[in-house]
Structure formats: C-alpha cells, structure tokens
C-alpha cells in the first residue's frame, strides 16, 4: 500500500505485509502451526553411525522418482499382449525423452531395492528395531516385500521374452504351496497359464493395488519414524552426548545433496546404458539360454536350481517355497523374536545368523551370475 510519496522517507515500510496477512489467513484455517512446531523440534542425533540415517530418506526419494516416472510411462503404455511390447518400443524409440523416462524407471527400481536392502541391513545391525520401534520395522519389512512385488509385476509389463518366462516361473512357485497353491497361482495369472490376462492383472497390481497398499504402509512407517524419532544404537548409547543436528534445515539439506547425486547417477546410467527391451514374448518359443531374473531374485533363483526333485519325500520346490516363506516371516517378525534387544541387550546370535544368511544370499547371487550357473552348457 506504499504510495509514491513514501519513497522520500528514510525508513522503508515493513515489507511483505500483504503476503503475511494471506499466510496468516491460511494458517488460521489450515492450522499448520502444530506441524511447524513439530518440525522445529525434529532432530537427528550425531554419532559415528549418523551416515546410516540418510538411507531411509534416500529410499523415500527413489520411491518418489518411481512414482513420477511411472505416471509418465502410463501416458503411453498399453497393457495388452498385442500392444504392450510395441508401446514400450514406441516409448523408447519415438516419444521425446521416452528412453530417458523408461530407463530411469528401470534403473531407479534396481537402485531403490538396493537402497532399501541397505537401509534394512543398517537398521538391523544397529538394532533400531528394539522397543518402541517394533512396528516401524514390521511396516518396513512389509514395504520391502511390496517393493519386490513392484519389481516382479513391473518386470512383465514390457511383455518380452525374459519377463514372460520369469513370470511363468514366478507364478508357478506359489503353486507349490500345498492346498491353496494352485488357486493362488490361478488368481495371480488370471487363468491357468501366463497370457494377456496375466498382463492385465499385473498391470492393475503394479499401478493400483500395490501403490494403494504402499501409501497406507509408508504413511504409517513415516508417522512412526516421526513419533519415535531416530534410534540411537546401543553401542553409542552410553557414550557422552555429542549433540544433535536440526532436521530442518540442516539434515534435510544434506539429504538433498544425496538426492541430487542419486539423480545424477540415474541420469548417467540411463544415458550410457539405456534399459534394454529384448524380444517380444512368444508363448510358443523355448525359454532362451542364459535366462535369469533381476539381481534381487537371483539368490532364490539359484536356490531353486539346487533343490532336487524330492527331499525326504517332499517335492523340492515345495520345500523351497516353505523356506522362502519362513525367511520372510522371520524377517518381518524379527523385533518380536529378538526381545533381548528391547531390553537393551546386544543379540550376537541374531547378528551371526543374519550375517550367515546375507553371505549365503551373496554367494548364491554370484553363482547365478557365473556363465555356467545360468546356462549349464
């Protein structure tokens, strides 16, 4: 409201009076004072493991990259057996920057799963799942399974040779569960075999069902992180207080540097190694030699190769599925199985067991990557 005459005076008027009034109006109606108050109090402890706190934020950022690129891909993708491959080909070859969007989505998916696994490993070894954060771990474990579901369902969508057989195997694995297995496999496939009906179903799972479940679980996960704050590892608990970093803006700005690096890595990978499309799926072709799934399924894939047809009268795959299920259950229920950690006691046996499982998974993954492991020729 300052008129021209006011310019002659030495003291300027207080600036931004009107925006403040508008902000005040909004603040009164939306009531975000509680939020800003909470945000101002949010802190991140400083100790020698502080760097691991960045993994969760990185996973969240990569997830949001997947959401954004996924939405963009939806605008051109067509979920049918006769058009899916061609529409992805069109995105890669014709649509301006289509190759970039799809490659970022594919590379981002892999990076995301990798970061989530690192996040989980750090939370495990620093025992951040002990009371009162059990539910944060459990929702996190469920989110990991959903991330794998995203990877598996998204893999089929380009409808190429590799994804076709990967889906045939992947949907035949649950069929090995006694009693309900065949029904489960039918529900997943949308029929008795992998066809266009499976593609429709996986599309729905990938773009609607899993995102809906993720929104709920991720919301709860993040809410719990805010509620309980950052966990301080047992080993640094009794050390003298080294202070804390304010989340806004100190920690967030550091987070953002990491996100910028992640975007750089994604863009570089996508430009230098655009994601391949392969050959269109043909239900009447043999599985190609050297076929293998994405890296995060390689350990399971390799284990399925080693399981003999029958072990003590039980079909090998049934036993395999049972073991995978048991592992998933132990991972999800870990805070309840390790009550010692909640009493602030170290749990070296759990550490040893987890190290053993990780080393075994790594060894199986390396074996699957060896040329002889894939082809057997």
């Amino acid at each position: 409201m300052s008129g021209g005459t006011g310019l002659s005076s030495a003291e300027p008027e207080p600036p931004l009076r009107r925006p403040n009034a508008a902000l005040g109006w909004l603040r009164d109606r939306l009531g975000w004072d509680n939020l800003t108050h909470l945000a101002a109090k949010k802190e991140v402890p400083i100790h020698r493991y502080t760097a691991f706190y960045y993994l969760g934020g990185m996973a969240l950022f990569l997830f949001l990259v997947q959401v954004a690129t996924g939405i963009l891909l939806l605008l051109y993708y067509r979920p049918s057996a006769s058009e899916a491959f061609e529409s992805v080909q069109y995105i890669m070859a014709e649509v301006p920057f289509g190759w970039l969007i799809r490659s970022i989505h594919s590379w981002g998916a892999n990076l995301f799963v990798g970061i989530v696994l690192l996040h989980m490993a750090s939370v495990f070894f620093l025992k951040a799942y002990r009371a009162p954060r059990e539910m944060t771990w459990i929702t996190g474990a469920l989110l990991l399974f959903i991330a794998l579901g995203f990877g598996f369902s998204g893999y089929l969508l380009p409808w190429n040779e590799l994804s076709f057989f990967a889906t045939r195997v992947g949907t035949d694995v649950p069929a090995q569960i006694p009693w309900i297995g065949p029904l489960l496999s039918r529900i997943l496939r949308g029929g008795s075999d992998v066809t266009g009906a499976t593609l429709s179903r996986f599309y729905g799972i990938h773009v609607a069902i899993l995102p809906a479940i993720t929104t709920l679980l991720l919301g709860l996960h993040l809410l719990l992180v805010q509620k309980h704050g950052m966990s301080v590892p047992l080993s640094v608990r009794r050390d003298e207080d080294r202070g804390a970093l304010r989340f806004f803006p100190d920690f967030l700005l550091r987070d953002m540097v990491g996100w910028l690096v992640a975007v750089g890595i994604l863009a570089a990978l996508s430009a230098l190694l655009p994601w391949e499309l392969g050959k269109k799926a043909d239900p009447f072709a043999s599985a190609p030699s050297g076929i293998r799934p994405e890296w995060y399924f390689l350990s399971m894939f390799q284990a399925l190769k080693y399981l003999p047809a029958k072990i003590a009268g039980i079909p090998g795959e049934t036993l395999g599925v049972f073991l995978f299920g048991l592992l998933a259950f132990v991972v999800a229920a870990l805070p309840l199985l390790d009550p010692g950690a909640s009493r602030e006691r170290p749990s070296p046996w759990w550490d040893r067991l987890a190290t053993l499982v990780l080393v075994a998974a790594l060894a199986l993954t390396v074996l699957a990557l060896l040329p002889a492991g894939g082809a057997g020729r």
């Binding site: 072709a285 599985a287 030699s289 082809a375």
Partner: protein, 158 residues
C-alpha cells in the same frame, strides 16, 4: 457436542441395563459382520478367474510337413493352446512331447549337440523319451502320439 452430551445423559439414565446393551451390540456387530462378508464374497469370487473351456481338441494336423523336420532337430508347435516339442531323432523317428517343464513351467528346448531336452530356466534335462534325467524336474514330460498322413504331421493325445 450436544449429541455427545445427550448420549452421556442416556448412559447415566440406564447404568444397569447391560444385557439389553449387550444384545443391541451383538445385533449391530453381527449385522455389520454380515454386511462386510456380503461385500467381500463377490470381490473374492471376482478375483478367481473363471475356468475357460480349454481347446478340447484331441487331434491336430500341423502346418509343418514331415519333410521339413530333418533328423536331430526339433521345433515348438502349438497343440490345444499348449506348447509341444516336435522332434526327429538322429535315427529318423518323429516324437512329440509336452514342452512345459515339469519343474516350474518354462518351455524346454532340444539341445542339438547333446541330443537331449533341456530347460534353460533351472538347468533341468530330459532324455528323448521325455524322462527327467537331471536337475530339478520332478516328473517326465508327457508323450503324445505322432502320425504322418501323406506329408502332414498329426499329433494326438496318447
């Protein structure tokens, strides 16, 4: 607020009327449960795909001529919606086997250099009779009848 205080007032008015209250609660709970079940049932049924009548042909005459398959080669042919491995042994005999691996449903292939049947997915092998020889496959491949009428190949369920 007025509604809340009215409810509180009614609670105060009948503090010992618990059996009626329990009955009403049970009734509400049961009908709520029944409503949820009646919503869920069609959804769950919807998720299970209907069993489509699979092509019930028991006999298919292929587009492939018998002379197009030289000894020690094979190809995948469709039979009643499924993949079938049609092969000619080195001695010249035509054989047909279901091509779906009995392990985890990949499609097998004929290995020329070893004259065996191999699944690329988990390294399972079968001999030319379809018997599972090594690797994880639990059962043999199913054999089908092959006949040659003129130069036409006819596959039939055994």
């Amino acid at each position: 607020m007025p509604i809340l205080s009215a409810m509180k007032a009614s609670e105060v008015a009948a503090p010992d009327d618990t059996s009626r209250r329990r009955w009403i609660r049970g009734l509400l709970g049961t009908s709520l449960g029944a409503t949820i079940v009646s919503f869920l049932y069609p959804v769950l049924r919807y998720l299970v795909p209907p069993i489509t009548s699979e092509p019930s042909q028991s006999e298919v005459e292929l587009d492939v001529k018998a002379s197009q398959i030289p000894p020690n080669t094979a190809r995948i042919v469709p039979f009643a919606g499924k993949a079938v491995l049609l092969l000619r042994t080195a001695s010249g005999e035509l054989r047909a086997l279901t091509a779906t691996c009995t392990h985890l449903a990949c499609t097998v292939q004929y290995r020329l250099e070893r004259s065996d049947i191999w699944c690329a997915c988990h390294n399972g092998t079968y001999d030319l009779n379809g018997t599972n020889v090594s690797g994880p496959p639990p059962r043999p491949l199913t054999k089908l009848d092959v006949n040659v009428r003129g130069d036409r190949i006819v596959i039939r369920r055994a």
